[in-house]
Amino acid sequence: MTASTLSTPRDSVKTWRRFKYPQSLIKYGIMLIILVFIAISIQYLNIHLERVLTMFGRLGNLFANRYYPPDIPYILDSEYLGYVFETVKMAYLGALFGILLAIPLSWFASFNMTPNKRFLYPVARFLLMVCRAVHEMIWTILLVTILGFGMLPGVIALSLFSLGFTGKLFSEEIEAINQGQVEAIQATGANPLKVFVYAVLPQVRVAWTGISIYTWDAAFRAATVVGFFGAGGMGWYLRRTVQQVESNRVAAILISIVGLVIISEVASAWARNKVSTS
């Protein structure tokens, strides 16, 4: 702060600019490109600004006048509750089958442990990729067109969804294991299956259990809506009430979905906690 330091700055420190020649230019350039892309997208998708501005009013109106009051007795009806029970069953069957299928597939699809790199590895990867890439609702629709309405297409769609979801996470866990134990078992001359069972499974068991619980949670969320496309469960009610514009019932169904998902989330968080601490 003294006068002497102020008046004699060293030459090398005289100036400083926040703008650095290549880095800052690249940074601002990328930001500009993103903004331009957003502007082009808004233009291309025909989004009108006044629609954005009136949106809140209309949303408020939707909730206040059409959804309110929710028709609570409708969701307490025993028939509806039966469908809720079906949804739960579909979800856990789907999750279960998905997880069971994911065990061999994720083994084949893990780069370090796959029994066959040339053939099994790419095939398993591809299968998992396709399961994950195609949205569960598209699976549902396709299966409903092939198999007809009912819970069977729902369970299969949820299984495929869970398989894609779990398979990737499972194989990532396998790829992160400790190779030392694997080599120890391999040294005894065990075949790949034995290596998998005795060296890999014990190491990934805890992580896999956590992932499986999480899968159940995700499958349940999806199960609440697969019925919308004809695959059983409470989603079917959603479709009916939406099509008949029974807004108060729609609201009640939405409340039931949110409530159930929250319950399942709390339960799965509890279970995951239990697994990771035990």
Binding site: M1, T2, T5, P9, R10, S12, V13, K14, W16, R18
Partner: protein, 250 residues
């Protein structure tokens, strides 16, 4: 008039918990390098944090150049804080920000929200930051990220950040305990020299008695929230130290 007056400062962290500071009073004069020594858990860090109210004291007064800091509101507190530079044991630099931005963050109390959002600082601040970085010997590191620096370098950035505030006092909490002995002495010397140049008194917590005796001109010995000793550094002898650190031996 003393630069900083602390009167009967008391604090407890929980209402039912123990009292950590039990009525502390002392004065820091314009030219002081004040060392606070004492065993671990004596309340040294708590005392420093009470002065700029990072921790709210339960009662007592902290008066900086005639302003009672314990009585001011939120806005007043921010004004008071920018008049007190603080240096931390763990440096507390924003790791993912450049050295320059870390130093400039010392000016946040003086600039508005808009300027701070754009990181658009007045020219004079930037100039001052460059000078300070030059003084602490970091002119080659201006655009480096803080997490690329060594411990000693980080603490020097911390010193520059505290001094760019143009503070009326420096609050220093164990500036050297994360550093090796040689660097520790350098950093202490730097704090002493630069605070003298700027004419700012220093209130410094320090665990290392040797360093305290070497750099300070006054010492407070703290033990279990009580002031066990206060006086000029030359009066500190073995008996005083034994008394202050009595708890630690037990």
């Amino acid at each position: 008039m003393a630069t900083l007056e602390v009167k009967d400062l008391r604090i407890r962290y929980n209402r039912s918990g123990p009292e950590i500071l039990k009525g502390l009073s002392f004065n820091v004069e314009q030219e002081d390098f004040f060392a606070i020594i004492g065993p671990s858990g004596a309340g040294k860090s708590t005392l420093i944090r009470c002065i700029n109210r990072l921790v709210e004291p339960n009662s007592g007064d902290v008066i900086l150049n005639g302003r009672n800091i314990t009585k001011v509101g939120r806005r007043g507190l921010r004004k008071a804080r920018r008049n007190m530079g603080m240096i931390f044991q763990e440096f507390n630099l924003v790791e993912r920000m450049s050295v320059m931005d870390n130093v400039l963050s010392g000016r946040l109390g003086y600039i508005g929200n808009f300027r701070s959002f754009l990181r658009f600082y007045p020219r004079a601040d930037i100039q001052r930051a460059l000078e300070l970085l030059d003084e602490v010997g970091l002119s080659d590191f201006v655009d480096k990220r803080a997490d690329e620096l060594s411990g000693g370098q980080r603490q020097r950035v911390g010193i520059a950040r505290a001094l760019i505030q143009q503070p009326q006092i420096l609050l220093v909490d164990e500036p050297t305990s994360s550093l090796d002995p040689k660097i520790a002495r350098e950093v202490m010397g730097m704090i002493k020299q630069m605070s003298e140049e700027a004419g700012v008194p220093v209130l410094c917590n320090i665990h290392d008695v040797q360093l305290a005796l070497e750099f300070s001109n006054k010492v407070i010995g703290l033990q279990d929230g009580f002031k066990k000793f206060e006086g000029p550094t030359k009066k500190v002898d073995k008996a005083t130290l034994d008394e202050i650190y009595a708890m630690e031996i037990l």
